[in-house]
């Protein structure tokens, strides 16, 4: 039975079934997260992270279940953490559908389970519930605990910025709906699509960004995926600087011959792994990598900028 949505807290039950936890729930602030999880903490710091709560549940003759509640500044940040990996089986925790405001292609999943680990996006909360040893009983307990934690919490829609991602980026290039990520940090970008060891897109927590893979259709032979990166900066000046930084670091040398030196033009260059396009409109930046021909890169970036402009016009 699903509970009505409304409250914004997430109570960790003291016990459920045969499982119980200790009285203390550890709270880990951002400056201590590396003590808790070494470099893994960079993932959470890369979003707008507030603090982490940790508890362990135990039961007779069962290995423990670890619960981690990552409290984020916004639902978008928690969504971003889930979007880093769309693998696993959808878990119905009575959170409701993604909602009509979300793009139609978006997976209707707020929770994913696999091999003992349940990952949940619940408003401004990202949750990991992990059984140290998976069994039928532990899976049942993990899912039950997930339902108890999210019960009654509201389920905001996915980030509006997702509307900027086209289902089809160009003729025969289809969005892989299990290969897109919402992020704010170049480290998160690199874990999905390696661009540079440096922050050459000047990303920070005031920006929001998407990276998505587009698979060529079956008629296009054995070519690899095309990757589209979209960034919305805090303001136009930040976007201008970021584009200049990117071009200097990634495309040293001349701009493509014949292009007008307009600040908002689309730049197309052939590089080691195919055709690369980048363009800016206002505070938005669009970049595409791995296109097979120049026109494809121009079409993808041009289409993306149109969608970004529409999004800005709607103030979303």
């Amino acid at each position: 039975m699903c509970r009505a949505a409304g409250n914004v807290s997430a109570d960790l039950p003291k016990s459920f079934g045969i499982w119980s936890r200790s009285d203390e729930v550890r709270r880990i602030l951002p400056d201590k997260i590396f003590d808790y999880m070494d470099g893994a903490g960079e993932l959470y710091i890369g979003y707008r992270f507030k603090y982490l709560e940790v508890a362990e549940y135990s039961a007779p003759d069962e290995d423990q279940i670890l619960v981690e509640l990552y409290w984020m500044e916004s639902s978008d940040d928690a969504f971003g953490l889930l979007s880093g990996d769309w693998g696993g089986e959808p878990a119905d925790l009575c959170q409701g559908d993604i909602g009509s405001r979300s793009p139609a292609w978006l997976p209707n999943n707020r929770a994913l389970y696999g091999a003992g680990l349940l990952r949940i996006w619940s408003g401004d909360l990202y949750i990991r519930v992990m059984a140290y040893r998976e069994s039928a009983r532990s899976k049942e307990a993990v899912l039950k605990l997930g339902r108890l934690i999210v019960g009654g919490r509201s389920s905001p829609p996915a980030p509006a910025f997702l509307d900027a991602l086209p289902r089809d980026a160009a003729s025969g290039l289809n969005l892989r709906t299990d290969r897109f990520c919402y992020f704010r940090s170049h480290l998160v970008l690199n874990s999905t699509y390696f661009l540079s060891t440096g922050n050459i897109l000047d990303l920070d927590k005031s920006a929001e960004a998407l990276v998505a893979a587009y698979a060529p259709g079956s008629t296009q032979g054995n070519r690899g995926s095309v990757h589209l990166i979209l960034v919305r900066y805090a303001n136009e000046n930040a976007a201008k600087k970021a584009r200049a930084h990117f071009e200097k670091a990634y495309l040293p040398g001349k701009r493509n011959a014949g292009s007008k030196p307009s600040p908002d033009d689309i730049q197309i260059r052939q590089v080691e792994d195919g055709w690369l396009g980048n363009g800016r409109s206002g505070r938005m930046l669009a970049l595409v990598f791995g296109c097979s021909v120049r026109d494809e890169a121009a079409q993808v970036v041009g289409g993306a900028l149109k969608r970004l402009n529409l999004l800005e016009a709607k103030h979303e």
Binding site: L187, L195, T197, E272
Partner: protein, 293 residues
């Protein structure tokens, strides 16, 4: 130097110009000219036993002890475990064991068995210590045995052998982000250089994505030990196993992201060993199913 000149890009990686790109003048590192270097040869032993992990992935210590002994014999070419250890370390050495301490830690059973085996070989127990931590740890040792767990790392691609000494730098944050490519530099610090006598990777239950935070979807029972005296060669073999497992899981190429730039840099820039499979002789022993070599 501007920030634009100290970062590597996807294009550097695609061009294979890693060594040139890493060699920023400000790094004050000992450059190794890969072109002039003679051909090298390193051996890496991969020993597996199907019964190393039992119910609930619990370690069978008796099996692991046999695996450790066989691995030592193969790595050293000696006939007995005692002489194998004594070909690597001396009784007067202060020996530091360097496991992975935290997330996806080295199995305690392996650490205990290495200690026990060293003592059986005649090394006084008070000369064997845990040496994971800050620079004072290797400074107090004359020999090190690296005991990392095999895992992918979301910041560096792989987080096994080279990354295992990051605390020895005294400034681990100096090797984060774009500087993670320089992890091999730590192995050349005066208090570390030349002390590592054996690299013994715990590959009983590796992690092939999202490390170091455990995600059981990407952990599997490989039931193996990977060992050698060339840290880069051992890292390279482990990297191959992880890469093949990733492809098996997805049924399509799934390269590590970010790419493990630190491995080639450890070879080409820091001269720690070879990252070229053509120069690595792999000795597989034992269970062969899904060996991923």
């Amino acid at each position: 130097m501007s920030r634009h000149h100290t970062c590597l890009t996807r294009r550097d990686f695609m061009r294979g110009t890693l060594a040139t790109a890493v060699a920023a003048p400000s790094l004050a590192i000992e450059s190794v000219n890969a072109q002039a270097r003679p051909a090298r040869s390193s051996r890496v032993t991969v020993l597996r036993d199907k019964s190393a992990l039992g119910d609930g992935n619990r370690v069978d210590s008796a099996v692991l002890k046999r695996m450790l002994g066989e691995t030592l014999l193969k790595v050293t070419g000696e006939k007995a475990v005692k002489s194998a250890w004594l070909s690597l370390v001396k009784p007067e050495d202060i020996i530091g064991l360097v496991p992975t301490p935290h997330l996806n830690p080295t199995h305690q059973e392996l650490i205990d068995l290495v200690r026990e085996s060293l003592i059986e070989a005649g090394i006084p127990g008070d000369r064997i210590r845990l040496a994971q931590g800050g620079p004072e740890k290797p400074k107090a040792c004359t020999a090190l045995i690296a005991l990392p767990g095999l895992k992918a790392h979301w910041l560096t691609g792989i987080g096994t052998v080279l990354k295992n000494y990051i605390m020895y730098s005294g400034s681990p944050s100096s090797y984060h982000e774009k500087n993670s490519v320089k992890l091999g530099e730590i192995w050349n610090l005066p208090h570390v250089k030349g002390k590592t006598r054996l690299v013994l990777v715990d590959a009983l239950r590796p992690l092939c994505d999202k490390g170091p935070q455990p995600d059981p979807r990407y952990m599997w029972n490989y039931n193996g030990l990977i060992a050698g005296t060339d840290p880069v060669a051992v890292e390279t073999v482990g990297l191959g196993i992880i890469t093949r497992m990733r492809q098996n899981l997805r049924g399509e190429p799934w390269p590590l992201s970010p790419p493990p730039l630190c491995v080639a840099a450890a070879d080409e820039q820091f001269g720690l060993g070879t990252s070229r499979m053509a120069e690595i002789k792999v000795d597989p022993i034992g269970w062969t199913q899904d060996i991923l070599l």
